[in-house]
């Protein structure tokens, strides 16, 4: 009986708890949200930074790019990716100046250009989201910028401030944010990079550090603490030589030399506006004291959405910004967009959804099942669920499984602007630049070429990526200017062109190169010792065994032995940074859609400890071409130079070119078709759902099945019956059975 009682408890709890849940019992969202125009999404990693000066990960960008508005954005539909204005009136053309300050023509030689200037004019009348930092009283005095500490101690979230306010976006706000990149209390990941370009940023950083040290010392003395606090530095009082406000709506940025990619940086949150009031508001003592009332948690922006619920452990909610300026769905797109229905919303005001709900899902199983139940509008496909979602035909074509098709789910694919590569360390005498003489350089190059042929990335994609990827032909991924889709796109060092398609060269070709490299049959021709190479990787444990075994097999194809040195991410990173590796596997995702952002990974001067040329590849001709190419406008001349660079890189083979991953995303039938965008992350304003259809489908897919509960209960009762009967019999049994003498 007690056991039965124990088993009944959960059943009773379920029955009682679910009695008020309506038609659907497993809905994870509040009942009052049913049928509303809400877009449901998810996040996996807990976001660390929402401060635009610090945030630099795609997970964080998925949220903050809906809130902050840099001056520019990428056009939603046009391809190749094209910059468009966001808050700016137009994308400016730079003006160039020489050392003496004389203006140069657009076509001036990059070597003569000492400075470039961008005048950015923003639109009038753009307003910030409602926020307490901007609240003012009837006399125009700020309500919450000089609060006593005791009052702050009674506030725990932004909603504890009863009043909110707004104001117009002005050029000063953009300048304020650029100065924040040098703020000593923030560690902006691009500060170092930007000091190479923005005139005066380094000097500003040094000055701010000195002043901050003094302020912190004063703070610690005043409050008798070792805590540095966050004393406010009013950045308006500091001059930044290269950034000036020209008028209320215009600001000028002066950068060193010519750097056309700078405009792409201006489309990232690093260059979004921050009102000084927000900085002042959050820096008041007590705001961050156990409350997380900081700009890093509660952003302030002019974008289509504003953060209304901040719970990085569980849920983030974005509500439509009531003050969002007029912005419409694009009226023109790329060829074919109209036919695919992507222009159906042309001219309509965005955002389309009144709310976006991001729920944290750390594990792939609940995430996938909730998508199938209709509780997420879109989802990716994890490897575990791939076979359930997608079928790959004999010739490699992919299609949704009948189950997915029956549900009306759509498959959207896109090749990411990412490259994963296996790099050779050029400091290594065997696979790198050789021992200094030309002969050993040539031998090492042939060895790299042989390995490039032997490592079959098509097979890797097929086995480990479920076919989701494109084998690399060079450093550039598809979608980036310079990548050739045509015949010139294949890598003749690794592939033969057969029937107009690239076909990986046979292993015999790799063996021939290996012999020419001085290792016939995988043995050193002088010593006779087998060639042993070392691959550093972070893949460890049983899950990685198949992949590591695959690597060994690829090397074994040409009789080369592979030793795998598996280590944790920290040690791996350190080894790569210090150059203590022979071969390693890495990846790079585009910051912006420009070939410079990939070619710089092979630029010789970047082969330092802190540089991004991790292979430490150096070729003077490649470097010379890179220096020309990086400052050019995209066009036929640039393409010619890129072709030359790619040819050099293919010959030198500092990487085996690996692969570019392909994303497979699923969208439910109630989500309007959208265009995948692997660069911009501010596209949720264009996302549109049909909440009525979604509700209908959810009801249809999630009808509760109650009978198994009854069955379980009956089974428990039945299993307990013999025990109960035995108990009764024993209780009724006489201590001395009848007939037995006392």
């Amino acid at each position: 009986l007690p056991a039965m009682r124990g088993a009944l408890v959960p059943a009773i709890l379920i029955a009682c708890g679910l009695a008020g849940c309506g038609r659907v019992w497993n809905d994870p969202y509040p009942a009052e949200d049913r049928g509303k125009n809400i877009y449901y999404s998810f996040f996996v990693e807990r976001p660390r930074h929402f401060d635009p000066a610090q945030s630099y990960t795609s997970d964080e960008y998925d949220i903050i790019q809906q809130i902050y508005e840099p001056p520019f954005q990428y056009h939603y539909l046009k391809r190749p990716y094209q910059l468009d204005s966001a808050t700016a009136t137009e994308v400016p053309r730079p003006r160039y100046y020489d050392e003496r300050g004389r203006e140069l023509s657009d076509g001036a030689d990059a070597a003569r250009i000492a400075y470039s200037e961008y005048d950015i004019r923003i639109r009038r009348g753009i307003m910030y989201q409602p926020h307490p930092a901007l609240a003012r009283d009837g006399k125009g005095e700020a309500l919450y910028l000089s609060l006593p500490e005791s009052e702050i101690r009674s506030k725990y979230t932004l909603s504890d401030f009863p009043k909110t306010g707004t104001r117009e976006l002005v050029a000063d706000d953009y300048v304020y944010e650029i100065k924040r990149l040098a703020h000593p209390q923030l560690v902006s990941p691009i500060y170092g990079h930007m000091t190479d370009y923005i005139v005066g940023l380094k000097e500003l950083g040094d000055r701010l550090k000195r002043d901050n040290d003094a302020l912190v010392a004063e703070y610690q003395k005043r409050y008798g603490t070792s805590d540095p606090g966050r004393p406010w530095i009013d950045l308006r009082a500091y001059d930044l030589a290269g950034v000036k406000v020209l008028d209320r709506y215009t600001y000028r940025v002066r950068i060193k030399g010519k750097y056309p990619q700078f405009l792409y940086w201006l489309a990232m949150p690093f260059f979004a506006p921050i009102p000084w009031e927000a900085d002042r508001f959050y820096s008041q003592r007590g705001m961050n004291d156990g409350r997380n009332l900081t700009l890093d948690s509660y952003p302030v922006g002019t974008g289509p959405y504003m953060l209304s619920q901040y719970d990085p452990n569980f849920r983030m909610t974005l509500d439509a910004n009531p003050n969002f300026h007029d912005e419409s769905y694009p009226a023109e797109g790329a060829p074919g967009d109209a036919e695919e229905g992507l222009l159906a919303d042309a001219g309509k005001r965005v955002p389309f959804s009144e709310r976006i709900v991001f729920t944290r899902e750390k594990e792939s199983i609940p995430l996938w099942n909730k998508f199938l139940q209709g509780y997420y509008d879109t989802a990716g496909i994890a490897s575990d669920n791939f076979d359930q979602a997608v079928r790959v035909g004999v010739s490699g074509e992919t299609a949704l499984t009948p189950e997915m098709q029956q549900r009306g789910i759509r498959l959207v694919t896109a090749v990411e602007s990412t490259t994963y590569y296996l790099a050779f360390n050029f400091n290594d005498p065997v696979v790198g630049a050789g021992k200094g003489d030309e002969r050993s350089r040539v031998r090492a190059r042939k060895l790299r070429q042989a390995l490039s042929i032997a490592i079959d990335w098509e097979e890797f994609i097929s086995i480990f990526q479920n076919g989701r990827g494109v084998a690399g032909m060079g450093p550039l991924p598809p979608g980036i200017f310079g990548y050739r889709e045509d015949g010139g796109g294949y890598n003749p060092v690794v592939y033969d062109q057969v029937g107009g398609r690239p076909l990986r060269k046979p292993v015999a070709a790799a063996k021939k190169l290996l012999a020419e490299a001085g290792y016939p049959d995988g043995r050193d021709e002088k010593t006779g010792r087998p060639l042993v190479l070392y691959l550093d990787t972070t893949d460890r444990g049983p899950d990685s065994a198949a992949q590591l075994s695959w690597y060994r097999r690829q090397f074994a194809k040409i009789d080369v032995q592979l030793e795998i040195r598996a280590t944790d991410w920290n040690r791996f990173q350190e080894k790569v940074r210090l150059g203590n590796t022979q071969m390693f596997f890495l990846g790079w995702h585009a910051d912006y859609p420009d070939p410079e952002n990939f070619m710089f990974l092979l630029y010789g001067p970047n082969g330092t400890q802190d540089g991004e040329n991790k292979a430490r590849y150096a070729n003077p001709e490649f470097d010379r071409l890179f220096e020309r190419m990086r400052n050019m406008e995209s066009g036929p001349q640039r393409q010619t130079i890129i072709d030359q660079m790619v040819k050099i890189a293919r010959e030198d083979a500092p990487w085996t070119w690996g692969f570019h991953p392909k994303t497979y995303a699923l969208a439910h039938v109630w989500v309007r078709p959208g265009k995948p965008n692997v660069i911009a992350r501010n596209t949720l304003k264009y996302a549109r759902v049909d909440p009525v259809l979604r509700e209908r489908k959810r009801d249809e897919w999630n009808r509760p099945v109650v009978w198994p509960l009854g069955l379980i209960l009956a089974a428990l009762l039945l299993a307990s019956a013999p025990a109960y009967l035995s108990y009764r019999r024993r209780e009724r049994m006489a201590a001395r059975p009848a007939g037995v003498p006392a």
Binding site: P2, R48, P189, N313, E363, L372, Q573, D610, P704
Partner: protein, 325 residues
């Protein structure tokens, strides 16, 4: 009793210092402050200057345990270990390495953890005791035999299996409860049912077997024979005598875990999307956030010691023969 408690509390200080030192040594033997900085700053375009700036900003620019550059006591106090540890003793956990308050996280996350763990504990205890009593009552019968086999089988199955099967059946196939998620207030019931059932069920095997052993040991004692000889019914013997006396070892195991219920469950919380402290700890380990890891280890140690103290006190309540001296 008060003197005993004070003495026990004084023992706590060196234990906590050792726990802290051990955590510190363990953490920094696999991570360096540079690793932590690089992980926080991201892997792209990170210069050594930015790493140094991050370390200075977060107090990781000092020597670990001994500072040779200063004089006197400062050699020990002007170190990462001292600066990061001493505040813990007044429960000032400071900020995580991403700048967010740990105290705030603990205060908000302990409730979801408790919302799952407390019912798991209560329901679990009731089920384990009931099942153990049942097996003990029918000792040496087929019920006991199959009960023990069931317990061993349930002990052999990973808790992850219970989670996956539970989510598959109750949430996916039968659509009875949400597969994951959390909500505060009365709405939380639908999210808690499944994790509580699974949390309790996954412990049935080990819990019931342990309690069965305790009850069988009690049942072999003289006072039970005397009770039976007096003519008491088996039910009275079991519930009035065996259960009450068996409660002493049960208390040892149960009371000690009560304070640690706040700390949550690592896997359960991750799979059910419950924003509790277990999930927080896992995230911190993955993010190499030393500030959170040391705070959680410290808190866990304090709660465990508190549990042990509570166990000692509870002994005196259930067994008059035990005195705190």
């Amino acid at each position: 009793v008060i003197a005993y408690i004070v003495r026990r509390l004084l023992y706590v200080v060196p234990i906590l210092i050792l726990v802290n030192l051990f955590t510190f040594w363990l953490f920094f033997s696999v991570n360096t402050p540079d690793d932590m900085a690089r992980l926080q700053l991201g892997v792209r375009r990170v210069s050594q200057e930015a790493v140094d700036k991050w370390k200075a900003e977060h107090g990781y620019d000092k020597p670990m345990l001994y500072n040779e550059r200063v004089q006197g006591l400062q050699r020990l106090t002007d170190t990462i270990f001292f600066e990061k540890s001493v505040r813990l003793f007044v429960f000032d956990f400071g900020n995580a390495d991403d700048g967010r308050s740990i105290r705030n996280a603990i205060l908000t996350r302990m409730w979801p953890s408790l919302a799952v763990q407390l019912p798991v504990f209560v329901v679990g205890l009731a089920v384990y005791i009931s099942f153990a009593l049942l097996m003990a009552f029918f000792r040496a019968t087929y019920i006991d035999f199959w009960g023990v086999i069931l317990c061993v089988a349930m002990m052999s199955i990973s808790s992850l299996f219970y989670i996956i099967i539970g989510q598959y059946l109750l949430s996916k196939v039968w659509n009875l409860v949400p597969i994951s998620g959390y909500s505060s207030g009365p709405d939380s019931l639908k999210f808690l049912v499944l994790p509580v059932v699974i949390g309790a069920l996954s412990g049935v095997g080990s819990g019931s077997r342990w309690y069965r052993t305790i009850f069988l040991e009690e049942m072999g004692k003289d006072y039970v024979r005397t009770a039976r000889a007096k003519g008491l019914s088996e039910t009275t013997v079991m519930f009035r005598h065996v259960l009450r006396n068996g409660m002493i070892p049960i208390l040892t195991g149960a009371v000690v875990v009560i304070p640690t219920l706040f700390m949550g469950a690592l896997i359960l919380e991750s799979f059910f999307g419950i924003p509790g402290l277990g999930s927080y700890t896992i995230d911190a380990i993955q993010a190499q956030d030393f500030s959170i890891v040391r705070s959680m280890v410290f808190l866990g140690a304090v709660l465990y010691i508190a549990g042990l103290l509570m166990t000692d006190i509870s002994y005196t309540l259930v067994d008059p023969r035990v005195r705190l001296e």
